[in-house]
Subunit: 138 residues, 2 copies
DNA sequence: CATGCTATTGCAAGAAGTTGCAATAAGGAA
DNA sequence: TTCCTTATTGCAACTTCTTGCAATAGCATG
């Protein structure tokens, strides 16, 4: 069965609706797997839904991220990219050559706990971007 | 002596120049202390330098961050803010009420080391933004 | 299946951020 | 001081992102 239908109950339960626009965008994110910019999502999703607008893409991506169906990340230039929400992970990018490595969340787990107990906050996000110099560039 | 002049040798050594635009922007960042959006920097700096353009502000802020005189941070909406580079710190923001707390870098130190040894990267950045729910909101 | 409520979308206008290029002005050298 | 190189800026055109509002369409209810 269609991947996107799995999300319907999640939305309904919170009073939201599944629309053709949301389905198309979820399908794009799910199929591509990696990070996509709003414009890239727009280009892809438009193939399925020609009268989709960029406005809706921006609003939908933000909506999906807010409700845990997608994750956003900034890749250094101040622009957000999005991906389908799956396993928790982070990114490490070389400032010089742009090479990127995925970071397991388990590496940050104890730090997250320290942060939570010292601040009283409950951390919700696990999709950070770190910057550094890779072994070749440093 | 003027704060901004202290930066001159740092720039010269790398082949860059100190300009009235850079001075004005550094003065604004230094005087304000906290995070400012490019537009806010523009508004302030323009008081000293009426024919400054927004283009130059964007390019200058990026330049200053790239060379360690300023730090950038994204505050959740995908937009960058800037501040003068001083002590290393991070931020923790409540997704619900927007309340923010400063996080000491020392809390992340051992995690940074783990990350470095497991990835082979040398981490350059210490100005992250974490998201969560504050004690009132969670 | 028809109706009504309201979440969601598209449109239009505007704000924010980017880029190429020619003119300007730091600042090293003579 | 004057000259010269080239880093830096301003301008104009463009792309990306945001917002208010009226029209549309999910979907719950009867
Ligand atoms: Mn990711
Ligand atoms: Mn900060
Ligand atoms: Zn590298
Ligand atoms: Zn809160």
């Amino acid at each position: 069965m269609s991947v996107t239908l799995d999300y319907v109950p999640q939305l309904r339960a919170r009073g939201y609706r599944m629309t053709s626009q949301r389905m198309a965008i979820l399908r794009v994110l799910h199929h591509f797997g990696g990070h996509l910019s709003p414009t890239q999502v727009y280009e892809q999703a438009r193939k399925q839904l020609p009268n989709l607008t960029e406005t809706t893409v921006y609003r939908t991506l933000e909506f999906l991220a807010e409700h845990g169906l997608a994750r956003s990340a900034h890749m250094g230039n101040g622009h957000l990219v999005y991906e389908i929400a799956q396993h928790e992970h982070h990114h490490l990018i070389c400032r010089n050559c742009g090479n990127t490595v995925e970071v397991k969340h388990s590496l940050l787990k104890t730090m997250y706990q320290k942060l939570e107990s010292s601040s009283g906050y409950k951390l919700t996000d696990s999709h950070l971007t770190f910057f550094g110099l890779c072994s070749d560039c440093k």
